[in-house]
Symmetry: C2
Subunit: 138 residues, 2 copies
């Protein structure tokens, strides 16, 4: 685990450093894709799910992670790339594979933004494509 890097990141956002926060942050940093609360629970056997849940709350409030609802019924969490907070323009596309049930981050593809009717204010955008991923179709 890259202890130093975790501590830096936490301190940079003014989040108090604790052992659990290190564990959760590290797991998310190592993950190549999004993780659900259940994923984290499995990986961090010793940690209670409510602690993970509250940790994620804190992380999200401090723009360390953002959450994605991929429509599977369980929220996915992903570490924020930029050092600063994620804006609407930064939101990227996610792809949910209906076969292997993984949610991919297509970081290189920004979520498209359509024009809204008069009077609508945008806070966030959620763009999920469902289908079969490249490794599942053989």
């Amino acid at each position: 685990m890259d202890k130093q890097r975790c501590i830096e990141r936490l301190e940079k956002k003014g989040v108090r450093v604790t052992s659990i926060r290190m564990l959760v942050l590290d797991a998310l940093m190592r993950a190549s894709r999004t993780m659900s609360l259940a994923d984290l629970e499995t990986e961090l056997e010793t940690v209670d799910k409510s602690s993970i849940f509250r940790t994620l709350e804190v992380f999200e409030a401090n723009h360390l992670v953002h959450s994605i609802d991929d429509g599977t019924g369980s929220m996915k969490y992903e570490i924020c790339e930029g050092e600063d907070s994620c804006t609407v323009a930064d939101m990227h596309t996610h792809f949910y594979c209906e076969k292997c049930h993984k949610t991919y981050c297509l970081k290189e593809i920004n979520a498209p933004l359509v024009d809204l009717p008069e009077g609508f204010t945008v806070h966030s955008v959620n763009y999920i494509i469902k289908g079969i991923c490249s490794s599942c179709r053989e």
Copy 2:
């Protein structure tokens, strides 16, 4: 209630006509926006939620309605416009108001479709914008 219209729609899809199916279909046809299972439960006081649930399953399987996950934790249902099944190209944008908690169908705005990396097959697209709707910002 436009009884005749309901019967037509059901028969056209080969769905057996029952009183409950009429009620659910009618409620959805009258709705100007998406409805959740809970919304339907409230509107159709006399009908059990499991019956509504199973009715919606049948409707969805027969392309009478489609479901949208707006990220609020409760699925929304919306009557299919076209007489035939909804394709990816037909999917339109939805807008969730964080103040009044309603999900709007922006029928005139098709969901954008981005290019995916090699090997990914698209089945469906979910495009939700969250923010404040025009009637909530005064």
